[in-house]
Symmetry: C2
């Protein structure tokens, strides 16, 4: 569909509301035992957030003409995987963060043991949703492939592996290639998964369009991270929801610390252009994805 | 097949060897990045252990006449889920154990952050295996159901939920019903999953036989735990691989602490008898499962 900036804002708000309804549906009720665990799961997942990953799922579905109810489950699953990874990343043994999305982190609000278990249970829930959601594609083979992608891209060769590389990098000097490798795993893999889960919901999958969407996903996955690093230097603590400068305070390698602020901004712009180029085989149907790429590099939080 | 005690020992040893080969196949190589994470995953999973859960998968497959290569993946997946839960249970914020299977726990051998991530990555790997293993049943719907069971029984309404109940119970007095509820979730759910994954690999699934196997699984899941609690009182540290009395030292509720040692032994015997009764619709084909039930209550570690 052809959209302008205002229509984009409206769509994003719709998607955000839509995934929150889906998350509410799949999360365990907080008055059901074990209550403390269920409360911690809900606290972490339903925290105010941008819902970037579900938005990508919905936008890809819309681009491919797939009914949005067919991807409600996938949208919830990727947000749940993201939320579990944030809970564990924030733990004292990892990044030791007290604040997340402007509120106490899960282990500060509850306790460490509950936070560890909430992350574990959320990961299981994500796989449960995809295996169970009756509205998803009727093609069981495609759903198995979704689970294969989600498990591969969130495991040791994806997101969890990226976090391990990140931890090993604290206090060490990385070159730009090593930094990119880390982010390709830590953030990029799950962003690619969002696009792939939506594409796998399509009744027919055209390999050329799939490859184009995957290239797009790789570009925006990295531009999102470059912008995160830039915001850690220039952003406003109140808008970010976490202390500005928290990454550099931890002596974490970032794009600005390795190539400087201006070169980082240039890199984000280039990745945005590459993302648009990847989408060139799509007509205005993909405008929503084009706006998302622009949003990723222009955002303030 | 008709077996005697010696044949049982041989079969168990075969299954143990078989799952170790399968685990070796699925675990990431330790010389591949991120190496420390991969080493921690391998260290925890390949630690010497009884391989109770894979043995149950193979024994159920053998009872139902299913080729064992079709369940190699399921056998590896349940052991990997079990290993991830042990890594996280042993963490300082949880049970704070230094010793597991006679060796330093994962976070003692590596570090806490690596142990958390190794657990996370192992959980993802278990789902990857079932979604990916080409030798499993060709029925994609049955495989989705396996993932559904595994995710449900390992999540907040299963294993992770049981651990949350366990943590909440430390220092409190539970009654016997509450203690059983905890173990039904914490240990029993995954034991039921073992039987169900094997049964779902069958080309045809007879509901009566499935229900009988599930009843059997419920009995042995609990008898296993009752025996664990008994061994914590009377067992030998060297044979157990963890300090004898470690549960009661943590002031954890156990069967002997609530109903006494003799009543606990009686309970284990009753559960064993119920397990045998559940199998009464099976001929000698199920002898291997009968021996397993006896082993669960007679074991010394």
């Amino acid at each position: 569909m052809k959209i302008d900036a205002q229509a984009f804002q409206t769509l994003v708000a719709d998607y955000q509301q839509r995934v929150d309804t889906s998350l509410e549906h799949w999360l365990p009720a907080e008055d059901v035992n074990p209550m403390r665990l269920h409360r911690a799961m809900r606290y972490a997942v339903l925290a105010p957030g941008k819902r970037v990953r579900p938005i990508l799922v919905y936008a890809t579905a819309q681009t491919l003409g797939i009914d949005l109810d067919r991807v409600d489950g996938a949208a919830a699953a990727v947000e749940i995987i993201h939320a579990y990874s944030l809970i564990h990343d924030d733990l004292p043994a990892m990044d030791d963060d007290d604040l997340r999305r402007g509120r106490p982190t899960c282990h500060r609000q509850f306790d460490e043991a509950t936070a560890i278990l909430a992350g574990d249970a959320l990961q299981a829930l994500a796989f449960y949703i995809i295996s169970h959601d009756p509205r998803m594609t009727a093609d069981s083979g495609a759903r198995l492939e979704m689970i294969e992608k989600l498990s591969l891209f969130s495991g040791s060769r994806g997101m969890a592996g990226g976090q391990a590389i990140d931890l090993a990098a604290v206090g060490r000097s990385l070159n730009i290639a090593e930094l990119e490798t880390m982010h390709i795993h830590k953030t990029g893999a799950l962003i690619r998964t969002c696009i792939q889960l939506a594409a796998l919901s399509a009744d027919e999958l055209d390999p050329e369009r799939f490859a184009a969407l995957d290239s797009y996903a790789k570009c925006i996955g990295l531009s999102f991270q470059v912008t995160d690093d830039i915001l850690d230097v220039v952003g406003d603590t109140a808008v970010l929801g976490k202390p500005q400068g928290s990454d550099s305070a931890l002596n974490k390698p970032t794009f600005p610390s390795i190539i400087g602020l201006e070169a980082s901004r240039e890199k984000a712009r280039e990745l945005h252009e590459n993302a648009l180029r990847a989408l060139s085989i799509f007509d205005e149907q993909a405008d929503i994805l084009r706006y998302i790429s622009a949003w990723f590099v222009e955002r303030e939080n």
